[in-house]
């Protein structure tokens, strides 16, 4: 299969997935209790007014008509208005994307910075204390629930030691960088770092553990391959063999997993954002759920689906480019 065909197939699959998500969301909204018009207007509305809004919003139309109207809106990018705040859903989604991206990227960086060295050490010192330590860390990292870890970090590093704040995001990364550029002050950058450290550690721990194990197993596999033995036999320094050849070959599946995990993280790290009051999409989704603000919920879920599908397509394409065998599988 050519690269073009591969891409077209993947995009079509992605569109199908997004359509599925949109349809399920619409279905859930249809069967969920509560009258949308009453929810929009509040409890003080007269029956006459409720009826008028039902008419205006097309809520008296048959379900299939409402569904096609809804799809049509989605296609042209009209996600409607929040029932709670009367603001455009697009604006409410867009304003929360930076916080979510910051947290996802920071958590990924945490995973890369900790996991790869740890995995390398673990693989090159098999059955030594360093390996046992790394394996234990991985086991703990994968087993520890996010919410518990977050709360423990807050209790230890915020409440007891006073090193980090308990949550929130008073300044965004973009603004922090602008402050550096405009005023030459790193103040905002420090504030941003202060606030993102604990959420990033919390969110990144699971992925750190995952990547550590992946790095270790990948390297162990590679180290047993004939080219490594041959390289060593040629007299190449083991450090060169280890880091130039072995680690490089190990990185391909790791990059793939990292990419896919980034997609998951962009899906709104609901628990971490809630624990740290981090104003990303996950927290907004929870707020929307609590208020049964369906248009906002739909907007967020659709965005998450699009982000997830897009990242998957990009990662698959890269992997496919790097490893043409995939196209034929």
């Amino acid at each position: 299969m050519t690269m073009g065909k591969f891409l077209v197939r993947r995009i079509l699959q992605g569109v199908f997935v997004i359509w599925g998500v949109v349809t399920i969301m619409f279905g859930l909204r249809t069967v969920s209790p509560g009258d949308p018009a009453t929810m929009m207007l509040g409890q003080g509305a007269t029956q006459e007014l409720i009826e008028r809004v039902r008419e205006q919003e097309g809520l008296n139309e048959p379900i299939y008509v409402q569904y096609f109207d809804y799809l049509q809106g989605m296609i042209v990018g009209d996600l409607g208005y929040s029932w709670q705040s009367n603001r455009e859903v697009e604006a409410m989604v867009i304003e929360r994307i930076p916080a979510t991206i910051e947290l996802a990227v920071a958590a990924t960086i945490v995973a890369i910075v900790i996991a790869i060295p740890l995995g390398v050490v673990s693989a090159t010192r098999r059955n030594e204390p360093a390996d046992y330590g790394a394996t234990m860390f991985s086991l703990l990292g994968i087993s520890t629930p996010n919410f518990w870890l977050g709360l423990m970090l807050i209790l230890l590093l915020s409440v007891s030691l006073g090193i980090f704040p308990t949550g929130r995001r008073p300044v965004g990364f973009g603004q922090a960088v602008m402050t550096v550029i405009q005023y030459g002050s790193v103040y905002d950058l420090l504030v941003w770092l202060q606030h993102i450290t604990l959420p990033a550690l919390t969110l990144g721990t699971y992925f750190t553990a995952l990547i550590t194990r992946l790095t270790r197993s990948g390297m162990v596999d590679e180290l047993g391959k004939p080219y490594v033995t041959a390289s060593r036999a040629k007299g190449l320094p083991s450090v060169l063999v280890r880091y130039k050849h072995v680690l490089r070959n190990t990185m391909i599946p790791i990059i793939t997993v990292l990419g896919l995990q980034l997609g998951t993280l962009l899906g709104g790290a609901v628990i971490t954002e809630t624990v740290f009051n981090w104003p990303g999409l996950g927290l907004r989704l929870i707020d929307a759920l609590g208020a049964r603000d369906w248009p906002l919920m739909q907007g967020i879920i659709v965005f998450i689906a699009i982000a997830y599908v897009t990242i998957n397509i990009v990662v698959d394409s890269l992997y496919n480019y790097l490893n043409p065998q995939v196209r034929d599988e």
Binding site: S85, L161, I163, P170, L190, V275
Partner: protein, 533 residues
Amino acid sequence: MQGVNNSLERRALLKRTGAATSIAGLAAIAGCLDDPSSGDDEIDELTITLSQFPDTIDPLDHITGDYFDVYDHIYEPLFDFEPGEGIFPRVVEDWEIQEGEGVTELSLRDDVVFHNGDDLTAEDVAWTINRTVDPEMGVVSDIGAYGLGSIEGAEALDDTTVAVGYGAAPGLAEFEFGNYARAMNMEWAIENHDAENGAISGADPEDFNGTGPYQVTDFTSGEEIVLERFDDYWGDEPPFETVIFNADGESSGRVNSLRTDETDLTINILPEDVGTVDDADDIEIRRVTSFRNIFCPMKNTVEPFDSQEFRQAMNYAVDNEAIVNSVLSGYGEARGQPVAPGINGFNDEIEPYEQDVGMAESLVEESGYGGVEIELTVPQGRYLNDAEVGETVADQIDQLENVSCEANLVEFGIVSDANSAGVDPDVIEIPFYLIGWGTITGDTDYGVQGFFTIPDNESRTFDDEELSDAILESQQIEDPDERRAQLEEVNQLAHEKAPFLFLHTQESIYGVREQISWEPREDETIYIWEMDA
């Protein structure tokens, strides 16, 4: 937020200097520097952490405490309301009942200006009241439906006089406009937000414009609002230069913010978190019995709740005192009527129902519903330990020999819908549920009319002519003492007819920096101008 001028973060940063740059390297430095804002220094900046951040910026589009906590500092009340005492002049200097006309004339101060520099006029006030009470105008407002329930409209007589018309006794109207009357800038609202045809919305500081002592200088929708003193405010200078409101849905999170100096005052602390605050330095718990009652309505148009004996049995089945002491750790008071002490018309002769299982079982048999299975629908996270309270209530009912009861935990929206679904038996899906109601006008009418009156009230939860008539009668009594006596009678009737399974009046629990001088109010409102530091 302009970080370079952000003194809040500066305070945090100074306290934990450089900690963010390196966990290991600079952690030792953190906390070694004194916080310049701690100790006995005057506080210029106050941070308040709510449990819910206002999700709409229209000051008339809500009737929830968290909104008033924020917006009352921007769109100030026209009157000062003192729980248990009545209303006092504020923006309205004086008011006069026009006998027999169903009208009270309000005289406004002539030196009040909006944050955008416009003068406040009677037309602004009249328009705001009309926009509140008229569901066809602007936004459908729960304040109009409930808070200003008897108010029919308002008209500007001249630049500083507003005539407010009502369809009930002047005393009731006074409780209502005394609590809920606000002033918006008519011209600004119409020109900038088409406010006669929809809700005000937006995400910028310029989208707010009131006459209050604070004006909005920074606003991050859904996260934080920063208020600063309004220099041209007509009244006394408020105590803090800057006030920041943010929110955290978790009680433990709010408490942690308080412990780490990230906030100075927080609300709705759960009983299980009280000890954490008590054990910490420089912060303390402050509490007050609120005007908010918790109860379980029983819609009497469906079985088995159509039987008064059965409804009374439900009340005898439950041990309110034990629930208050165990589930709420004492942060409440058992109650046997729809309103709390301090409310006009509260009947102090009425004792709460005492648990009597034998009596409950025999009443169930009398009702003819022995062996019935019922479900109690309970919200989670709305009221003080609501889920645990509801589960305990259901369990105690279930322990009756002749009734089975289960608790069904749901999100609050479902309970809210159930409460406003009316009493048509063909429509009722949830006839028995737990809910809370704060009678924040300070008058019994607000605690009963929405639930019990029949005419023009499709959202009622109880269908009883005698109770409805008693309330309607109270609304027309002009003499305050007579009216109070009638409201006491309404509460007595409600106790006997048992439209609710009466539970308790809950306490409001706040965590506050010791340095701040402030006493919580029964109506759950937080006013910065009542503080000092």
